[in-house]
């Protein structure tokens, strides 16, 4: 669904990304991890089209990123940025409704989707509140509802899987859980699992190794613009790799009930 082929990025003569290759099949969850300044957000911006790759290319559904029209891409790919700078007093409901901008589904259907998306992120009670007055975590939840509303039909797709249809959704999340409390971090994991099970391909930047381990199909360790390791969670979460990438001594144990690997520092 999403292929990143030998992508390099140089901005103002500063090399930010170097020869990154990652394949994200339909419905997979990829966690981009690494220390600050490793190039995670830059990579996300190359995928979202905000930066043009200096080398290599990004392919969506086997078609080069730059051959897609922005209005086409917006119908199935949504991007949640690290933080929002909205300073106009939209209500939360109106912010979520902006996610329907690329679609012409009509006000009735849009209103249904907005209500459902707010409920999904546990923010129904914020619907009429002014966005600018919300706390950081509440704002991020409303923004999450906005990007879900943008690709809602893909997130809630219940039909038969018929190959790589061009309509499969892609969701890019940049540190989605940074402002969330514990309960909402778990809510995020639930949402990611729910939508990936319905064919949406998710790429997310995360700092919490354990949270990523809960829902990622593959992990990408990045360092200084390079891809240090790509693989399944169990392959990557080893004390040696964690030491190499994060310069931290850690133990990896197995979750006593769920059997997933856990990093203890």
């Amino acid at each position: 669904m999403l292929n990143i082929n030998s992508v390099g990025l140089t901005l103002s003569e500063v090399p930010l990304l170097n020869n990154i290759t990652i394949d994200c099949p339909r419905g997979s969850v990829t966690a981009l991890m690494g220390p600050n300044g490793a190039g995670k957000t830059s990579l996300l911006k190359v995928i979202s089209g905000e930066h043009k790759a200096s080398q290599g290319r990004v392919e969506i559904n086997r078609q080069s990123r730059k051959d897609w029209k922005p209005a086409e891409i917006a119908q199935f790919m949504a991007v949640l940025p690290q933080s929002s700078t909205l300073e106009f007093a939209f209500t939360s409901e109106e912010v979520v409704a902006l996610g329907r901008t690329p679609h012409a589904t009509g006000t009735v259907r849009d209103a249904e989707i907005v209500t459902a998306a707010l409920a999904k992120v546990d923010a129904s009670y914020l619907a009429q509140r002014s966005f600018v007055q919300l706390s950081g975590g509440e704002k991020q939840r409303v923004q999450l509802a906005r990007v879900l509303a943008q690709i809602w039909d893909h997130c809630e797709y219940e039909g038969e899987y018929e190959g790589d249809a061009p309509t499969d959704g892609i969701l890019l999340l940049d540190e989605p859980s940074a402002a969330f409390d514990l309960a909402h971090q778990l809510m995020l994991i639930d949402i990611v699992q729910h939508i990936s099970a319905r064919g949406v391909t998710v790429v997310m930047v995360m700092h919490d190794l354990n949270l990523a381990a809960k829902c990622a199909d593959q992990m990408v360790f990045m360092n200084c613009g390079h891809c240090t390791a790509v693989g399944a969670v169990t392959e990557l979460l080893t004390p040696e790799l964690i030491k190499k990438v994060f310069s931290v001594d850690a133990e990896v144990i197995t979750h006593p009930l769920q059997g997933t690997p856990m990093v203890v520092v």
Partner: protein, 345 residues
């Protein structure tokens, strides 16, 4: 959970109130002036073409009607362009002066006033005096320079545009001041009066020119409402929502430069309407542009007609510059609204 709604009224109610106020204020504008004309006379003159005495008929047809219509159009243009620019800069304090239009227009007008004798041979163009043509040219030149300065290979940076606008406005201000220094007493008075805004020169030609511009913009601007809403989230967010941000910015700059330049050309610099009206409407009904743009246009029209009517009667038979009145009327109302808004939130 207590639901906090910070909106004062719904867009529908606001629109209804403005629709009621619009004809009432317009009639008031037709009635007031050095010669008071009664409502009955106005209705019979405008509707059936006769009634009243011939003097009143002349005043309405040649002076007041074009003046009221021009005020409506200029007010609507300024307020709508203000709303567009506030959306473009994602800053509720942006104002048409920011893209250098007003400062550029001042230079253009001052040049014509000071070196006017060279231009008089040209006569009138589309009902515009040489001063208006100078102001229009100055406005367009300034906004083109600012746009070019802010546009690079990465696209147009609104932050650079803001800074360039301030710098070009300062430069233009210096040029206007130099011209004022060179000017004699009469020229100096004309320059400063022009900078305070004035609808005295209203004529049917000017109404036609403004109506043409307003119609053109009224067809194009409402289409941008959705994209403008998305822009409020941020430029990259708008891009991710499928908006072609670079082209949107260009169109918005062209629309607002055109709208403001025409207004300035026919009525001089009228401060505060473009800044205040959209801001007030936003406080009342929220930032959604599909409501904000038409409501701002209506409110701007009403404000300017009312201000102009007041300008004609306060020190009658002399007239105050309308820009002074818009600030006198608008600023206290604006402050009151800010206080109310703070108390509610």
């Amino acid at each position: 959970m207590k639901v906090l709604n910070t909106r004062l009224i719904t867009p529908r109610l606001c629109g209804l109130l403005l629709l009621i106020a619009l004809p009432l204020v317009s009639l008031l504008g037709l009635m007031t002036g050095p010669v008071f004309i009664s409502l009955a006379d106005i209705l019979s003159i405008t509707l059936s073409g006769d009634g009243g005495n011939s003097q009143e008929k002349l005043i309405i047809e040649i002076i007041r009607l074009p003046r009221v219509i021009l005020s409506l159009l200029v007010g609507a243009l300024l307020a709508t362009c203000g709303a567009l620019l506030q959306g473009l800069f994602r800053n509720p304090l942006a104002d048409p002066a920011l893209i250098g239009v007003s400062a550029g227009a001042s230079v253009g007008a001052s040049v014509v006033i000071v070196f006017g004798s060279m231009f008089t041979a040209g006569g009138l163009l589309l009902g515009l005096s040489a001063i208006s043509v100078g102001a229009f040219a100055g406005a367009i030149i300034a906004s083109v320079i600012i746009f070019r300065l802010a546009t690079g290979p990465q696209g147009t940076s609104v932050a650079t545009m803001l800074l360039a606008g301030i710098a070009i406005s300062a430069l233009a201000g210096a040029a206007t001041n130099t011209l004022s220094y060179l000017a004699d007493n009469d020229m100096l008075r004309r320059i400063s009066l022009w900078q305070m805004g004035n609808l005295q020169g209203a004529s049917w030609d000017r109404v036609g020119l403004c109506a043409l511009t307003a119609t053109f913009l009224a067809v194009l601007i409402p289409r941008e409402a959705g994209a403008l809403n998305a822009m409020l989230l941020g430029e990259s967010e708008a891009r991710h929502l499928g908006v072609n941000v670079e082209w949107l910015k260009r169109r918005l700059i062209i629309y607002s430069a055109l709208g403001v330049a025409i207004s300035v050309a026919v009525a001089g610099v009228i401060a505060f309407v473009g800044l205040m009206v959209p801001h007030v409407i936003r406080l009342l009904v929220g930032p959604n542009h599909s409501a904000l743009l038409p409501l701002s246009a209506m409110a701007g029209a009403i404000l300017l007609v009312a201000a102009d009517a007041l300008a004609r009667v306060v020190i009658a038979p002399a007239e105050l510059p309308v820009g002074v009145v818009t600030a006198l009327l608008g600023a206290p109302f604006f402050l009151w609204l800010l206080v109310v808004q703070r108390r509610r939130t």
